[in-house]
Amino acid sequence: MSAPNLELNNAAKNYDGLQVLHDVSFAVSPGEVVALVGHNGAGKTTIMKLLLGLIRPTSGSVQVLGHDPAGSNAAQARLGMGFLPETVSFPANMTGQEIMNFYARLKRQDRQDNERLLDMVGLGDAASRRVKTYSKGMRQRLGLAQALIGSPRVLLLDEPTTGLDPTLRRSFYDTIMSLKDQGVTVLLASHALSEMETRVDRIAIMNNGHLMADGSMAELRQRASLPARIRLTTDDGAAGRAAEHLQGADIRHVNGRTVEFDCASEDKMELVRRVTDIGISIEDMEIELPNLDRIYELYQDVEGISS
């Protein structure tokens, strides 16, 4: 594995004696897309600010593209970074194009590329209009376009899909995927759990400044050991008989033809085999694996109990 593009080592942050981040360590490699999830105030934005070098860790260290983002080579690191803040606002009397030209100049990039970026986020036609005429979604997309100036190798996106309709969301993730293929590191902070779980490589769950879990969806499922939810549709009247043979499973619901139960993910095939072995034919089977919402809830609960 190549050296990570961004890295936190036991990073902690105190604000006036209040600890908002506790010994967080994680790294993201080139071409990896990582979701940072957690409630408001869990420390997501603090991590973004640390990576941008806007604040310094109270203890521990931060590295972005091989530099300390708050150190003397910070500008070097930031040349290779793109950032979309959670609340994005631009001078209302400037046009989209002027704003892009301004940011391109700050990033020492040619303005030629701006047209392509504005087209990519669907603002090509609105480029010469003033930002005050833009909708919320258009401003968000302008924010995304500025983050992409200069082909950054690290993208930090704070709530990137707020205000985007489903079509734009899809095209947003398409953009992210093509960047990922080019080896760009993407860190997404978001509350939109369901849309991220199938699209990111890894998920880092934050709670009250602690990193609770960090892994792929499959790893998180396994670690969380949440049950899979299975629904069997059988011959008429056979559901009750099937339920009797599902020892070890947590039967949730039975009626004439269907039986619904929870079981550990690794037991599911064994249980289904047992039912077919006694001669009940299964017409349909639905398996619902624990989704990110359920896993996320679990980690929020854990903290609730311990604190």
């Binding site: 500008a75 609340t87 700050l106």
Partner: protein, 276 residues
């Protein structure tokens, strides 16, 4: 360095777009023209020295108006961007923090200088159109009042930036800016006068008094314009004070620069350490 000028340029462009520059220029031109035209009314005709009358009028106008305009431009510069979230984005770009504050300062200064030069210059243009007779020294005094007005504006811009960097909320910055204006422009001289009267000339020596005058940028400005030029003293009966104070125009300019550099330097230093 490129970032510095990019930010200054953005600030100037924004000033033109949101009509700030236009309204300030019109305001200053309106006042300057009124003073110029009314100033020549009592004498009936335009006399030899009406340019100097205008200079005196303009410098009095500046003392009230320019600090107010400068503070209105600058009190929001840092804290406003913090609250709108735009500073977070700006500082995520490859630039040093002093670029951000220095660029904004240069931009605001350009906006203020444009409004002052065009606004006051229009008064000069009217005088020329009226066929004023004035020698080079008088025109020099006129140019000096415009130049030093810009310097006074720069000093209050710098003070505004300092306020904007220190406070935690935008509303506090606005309140502090108003208080600073009241203090330097209205209260300070009265308080100084009161102090002198109360003291009865016993313990406050001339040098202490001089130092107290320089501790206010508007007083330094006043001394520079009203006492710095020959022939001016005859028009400036209201501040006979200046006759006693002995400052060379150069040292007064130095003080004016000090009032720009020190607050701006302090603001930059604090801004470097600020956690956004």
């Amino acid at each position: 360095m490129n970032a510095l000028f990019a930010i200054a340029g953005q600030e100037i462009r924004d000033g033109f777009r949101n009509k700030w520059i236009m309204s300030m220029t019109l305001l200053l031109a309106g006042f300057a023209l009124t003073l110029t035209l009314l100033g020549s009314a009592p004498t009936g005709t335009v006399g030899t020295n009406s340019l100097l009358v205008t200079v005196v009028s303009l410098s009095s106008l500046t003392i009230f108006l320019i600090p107010l305009i400068a503070l209105m431009l600058s009190y929001d510069a840092v804290i406003g961007e913090v609250e709108r979230g735009t500073l977070l984005l700006l500082l995520s770009y490859p630039l040093a923090r002093w670029h951000a504050i220095g660029g904004k300062f240069l931009g605001h200064l350009a906006v203020l200088a444009f409004a002052t030069v065009v606004g006051y210059g229009s008064a000069g243009a009217v005088l020329v159109a009226q066929g004023v007779e004035a020698d080079n020294a008088n025109w020099f005094a006129f140019a000096a009042v415009i130049g030093s007005s810009v310097l006074l504006g720069a000093a209050f811009l710098a003070i505004g930036y300092l306020i904007s960097t220190i406070v935690k909320e935008r509303a506090t910055a606005a309140g502090t800016a108003v208080a600073v204006w009241l203090m330097f422009v209205l209260i300070y001289d009265m308080a100084l006068l009161g102090l002198l009267v109360a003291d009865g000339g016993n313990s406050i020596s001339g040098s202490v008094f001089n130092a107290l005058l320089l501790a206010n940028p508007t007083d330094a400005y006043r001394l520079f314009n009203l006492a710095g030029f020959e022939g001016m003293a005859t028009f400036t009966g209201t501040i006979g004070l200046s006759a006693n104070a002995e400052f060379s125009p150069l040292s007064l300019l130095g003080v004016q620069f000090g009032w720009i550099v020190v607050p701006l330097g302090l603001a930059t230093w604090l801004f470097q350490r600020k956690e956004i």
